[in-house]
């Protein structure tokens, strides 16, 4: 047990702090600044808590890896009041990845219907934004907006954690 605590103290807090821009690697700094702006909006508009339900509607799973990453110790998106929930009934925002496979089409629609108003939809990744590498076919509906209304698309294959956070900020800034 002592070793465990030792490791925790030695590791320290690695979650990237607010720094003056340009002092270290650009991305982490930007991430924090974007996050701080986001928190102000989340505090004001969502009483400090923004709930996201992630839906993989046909992705290659690459986008999921980066969505997971915004929860890791470096990015720790929860500190800005953003958290991922298990049920669409608890969600403010649906974050949808992938070209929507035809086999997920109805499940996505039902997930959207189960999300209470007011609700917003973010299409994540090139696939979610426009169909990406998979496009529209007998098996794929392509872009998320071909199936449910989309408020914002975050392109990238997959989008980086910073791009994901900036996307959230852009959407919330509009509200």
């Amino acid at each position: 047990m002592l070793r465990l605590y030792g490791k925790i103290f030695k590791t320290g807090v690695i979650t990237e702090k607010v720094r003056k821009p340009g002092r270290q690697g650009a991305e982490p700094d930007e991430f924090v600044q974007t996050g701080e702006q986001l928190r102000q909006i989340v505090d004001r508009r969502f009483r400090g808590s923004l709930a996201i339900r992630q839906v993989d509607a046909g992705s290659c799973n690459g986008c999921e890896l980066e969505i997971h990453a915004i929860n890791n110790a470096y990015y720790d998106v929860e500190r800005f009041g953003v958290h991922f929930v298990a049920s669409p009934r608890h969600a403010d925002i649906l974050m949808v990845t992938g070209p929507v496979s035809r086999h997920m089409e109805e499940a996505l629609r039902r997930t959207w219907e189960a999300t209470p108003e007011p609700k917003w939809v973010i299409a994540v990744g090139d696939c979610g934004a426009c169909g990406g590498e998979f496009g529209v076919s007998y098996a794929s509906c392509g872009a998320v907006s071909n199936v449910i209304p989309v408020d914002l698309a975050i392109p990238g294959c997959p989008p980086t954690p910073l791009a994901l956070l900036q996307g959230l900020l852009t959407l919330c800034g509009r509200l």
Binding site: M1, R3, L4, K7, I8, T11, I14, Q54, V55, D56, A57, G58, S59, C60, N61, G62, C63, E64, L65, E66, I67, H68, A69, N72, A73, Y74, F84, A86, S87, P88, G98, P99, S101, R102, H103, M104, E105, E106, A107, R109, T111, G132, E133, F134, G135, V136, S137, Y138, A139, S140, C141, C157, P158, T160
Partner: protein, 531 residues
Amino acid sequence: MNPITGIDAYHAFGLKLAEAGLPLRSVDPSPLAPAKVLELAPTDWGKAAAVARAESWRWAGVWAEDCGPQLTVQACLEKQGCYVLLHTAVDSAHPVLPSHTHSYWAAERPERQLQDMFGLRFEDHPDPRRWARHQAWGDTEHPLRKDYPVAGTRSGPTPPDKDYAFLRAHGPSVYEIPVGPVHAGIIEPGHFRFLAVGETVLHLEERLGYVHKGIEKIAEGRDPQGLARLAGRVSGDSTVGHAWAACMAMERAARIEIPARAASLRAIFAERERVINHLWDLAARCNDVGFAFGYYQFGRLREQWLRENREWFGHRLLMDRIVPGGVATDLASEAAAKMGKTIVRLRRELDELLTILDANSSLEDRFLGAGVLSAELAAALGALGFVGRSSGQSFDVRRDAPYAPYDRLEVRVPVETQGDVSSRFWVRYKELRAALRLLESLLVNLPAGEIAATWGEPPADAQGFAAVEGWRGEILAFVRFATDNRIARYWPRDPSTVNWPALEKLVLGNIVPDFPVCNKSVNGSYSGHDL
């Protein structure tokens, strides 16, 4: 392993087939070298599998091709690093074959997949239900037939798939738990149907195919670059593995030798992919059992490696770094020096974490004895990667059927026999350590020179077959070219396709709340399976 043994096994197999009275033709020289091709009559298809089973060949996959009047079918077998492809052809209008399922459990779903995609019927198949098909196309339509339009035939919304006949149980205390396709986390979609008594799992049935997005169909007509991009998205977490397999198959078809430096860089990418995914899964396993410390520590190390990927190679997951003929990104010498240092640092961190994990009995309490896959079941299924290796199956393409640059490296393959969640955790830990060693020797012996060969258009009909060891295990790819450098057929086989059925067995007798940790200790790719 000694290549002679594989060839011996192949000759012995040929003799046994002849003894069983199966006329066959060994196609010489093999169009899919180094794999061997054996042509059989369709009527002998099932018997050949029985002989293969008796001779302990592993069944690795099956694919078909629409060649106009005929459907050709190839099944892949492997023993001691030797790959043999059984080849047959049936009439396109009435395609019927005996099933391999009676000899090989692993053939059960892939044959149902062929039934859906090609209309190929396996006459004595024990389970005639559809598999790949939900409701996106009709039961008389077969998307991988050449005359089926890539856009499909359905207009309007796709109805839900509600009448799939799951196994039912009757009795006062048995109840069903349906889970998915949308799961309660940041995870891919699929459906699990449990039959439980109290908390104990009596039966589990998987229903996959939700993320089927027509990869094999939309591969047709692409150029080599386009196919490499698509292959890199068969399963995003294995982008390096699939891109490598597809490129190797295309390069074999086009008879292109990639430069030695390109081969080493590919291996560096592949080992980094292995390290990053194993770190992530060690983190996630800790999280599954509520050990937040492990989750944050392994997750922290993983993020460091992702950032290095971005800095040195331009992409966190290394997508599109492998291209036909070689690689798209070189490794600068300063970056190589830095990589050497981060490997040392990671090893030190792992040492420290290992001591802490070892002393943490609550972790082992949840892992030990949970989700046991016996060595017999793993062998019967041909379980791959860390799932197989945790249950006594040591096969590793890098060691047993080596390809450049692994043919000049010593690949250590850790094996355990307990077959539980704990074994799968520790095998991954050990594989991670082995990958660090490999990375070090790759860096030390990195050849100078070009990073890509010039692409030369392959002749029409040229075909290639490749096997590489992805971080989940053996990845297979078959490619056939049409004319003009265009793809006529692409068949990728992710190791998840083989391993998914193992989950149905290893979860039996466990309690329902242990399902997440059992499931993720196998960590199948839904996308890689569904295609």
